[in-house]
Symmetry: C2
Subunit: 253 residues, 2 copies
DNA sequence: TCGTCGAGGATTGTATACAAGGTATACAAT
DNA sequence: ATTGTATACCTTGTATACAATCCTCGACGA
């Protein structure tokens, strides 16, 4: 790995002195693992937003991010444009970008569309999934059952479950439409799955959906998926209301 | 228009000598009309694809497009990335980009999703449209009635009708989801509206949908919109079949 | 005291130079 | 003849320099 640095002239301006080690670890177009710096930047920024390290509403500039990621403006710029087209950032003509912020109204709009698309995916999956795809779904749910109290493990599995269904639905446009909506979920804040009771309820709903899929009951899968989404919305709304109440009673908490 | 050139030092390397006039017409970040070169490039490439001047499946390189558009690789690159994320281009790691190609199967997938989303938009519009929005819809259909034989005027009006409905639906996520699908329509080839009989039928369907919206009959609008989409798919499929038949009988035509 | 105008700073938009990666082709060896 | 290898070229990826734009803040005049 050390052979990769090549130090193409150590550095001409010695940018930050702090992140130099990590700069050396990347440096060229496709750094070792085949990912371009722009992709790295994209994932990194996305993750920072998802983890709340960059709050919604924050103001970002290209130079700032470039300094933070230890790369030049070019790949950062590319990443920002991509995130903008995903809807995570709002680009302001000559003034940088804002991390998009969603309110409760936006959330309800989002879930209205999810209630449309996810049931359709579940129904299509019930009609078209292969045996091995169903086996994969079952396996994911098996692993899910074991980590219901561990959000860090649970959340990727949850995502995988939905992705597998979407894949089995065999419709690239459905995939695109759902992706356009899903990409903004990180802006909603903490997942429902952080609470174990919610996680447990969601898991049971997943099992029911899978059962319908295995039975090739597309109408049933559709109905169950719709109620799964609707339930998820209710949980989030309840949590918001709870937080508002708490902060009313206890403003600084 | 000539005031825009400003000639910020005529040019330093005199790039191509052939497209210089057009280069002078643009040149700065936001060329007069406030659009960046990247946006211009994006629209231009999109239009070239839509008009078939760049065939589906064609191979594009950054330099080639930069030369053609009279700008540097940077904004072209940005445009290509944007078009890639829209799904119009397929970026190949180090080998340029391909104009995406859709077959009949893809088209059916696309219309399956449109049959899901557009009726939802029509229903939401019926519930939420303001008086002035309905008036705007009516006016568009009025103009539409007058140009049924003129596709060049008809197609933008058709698009405007659908956009107005989507706007009145008041759901940014529905908008995003539909946009993700709509952006690939240019890849399907000629519009149905080129044929006057189809245009006339579509216009009547539009009128029926508007009537349901005015009556605040969301279920009716939903149903009518669904059959509108479904009819559109059937027309396209019939045309494909017709073309195949023709080319079987008359291979070189 | 308030409004308007101008200078300056900050940030993006664009062009270009350079380096790294991939592919294809030509050549040699089996 | 076929296959493996090396080299050259083409394209993209990245960095940086510079131009244009927008916002801010302060000075000046009414």
């Amino acid at each position: 790995m050390a052979t990769r640095a090549r130090t193409r002239k150590p550095s001409r301006t010695a940018p930050d002195e702090g992140a130099l080690e990590r700069i050396a670890a990347r440096r060229m177009p496709a750094a070792g693992d085949g990912r371009s710096l722009a992709e790295v930047a994209c994932d990194e920024i996305r993750r920072a937003i998802r983890e709340g390290r960059v709050p919604t509403g924050a103001h970002l500039t290209e130079m700032e991010l470039a300094g933070w990621l230890g790369m030049s403006r070019t790949p950062v710029r590319e990443a920002m444009r991509r995130l903008e087209s995903e809807g995570l950032l709002l680009n302001q003509p000559f003034r940088g970008a804002l991390v998009m912020r969603l309110d409760a109204e936006d959330m309800q709009q989002m879930f209205a569309v999810r209630e449309l698309l996810e049931p359709a995916a579940a129904a299509a999956c019930a009609l078209r999934a292969t045996g091995s795809e169903i086996a994969a779904l079952r396996e994911v749910l098996g692993r899910e059952a074991e980590v219901l109290g561990n959000p860090a493990a649970l959340i990727p599995l949850n995502r995988q479950f939905h992705d597998l269904i979407l894949e089995a639905a065999r419709n690239q446009f459905l995939k695109k439409a759902i992706a356009a909506v899903y990409s903004l979920i990180p802006l909603l804040g903490d997942s429902n799955l952080l609470d174990e009771p919610h996680a447990r309820a969601a898991h049971l709903q997943h099992l029911a959906i899978l059962e319908a899929i295995e039975a090739r009951d597309d109408a049933g899968a559709e109905l169950l998926a719709r109620s799964h989404v609707s339930h998820s919305l209710e949980c989030r709304l309840a949590r918001i209301k709870g937080n508002e109440l708490k902060s009313t009673l206890n403003p600084q908490s």
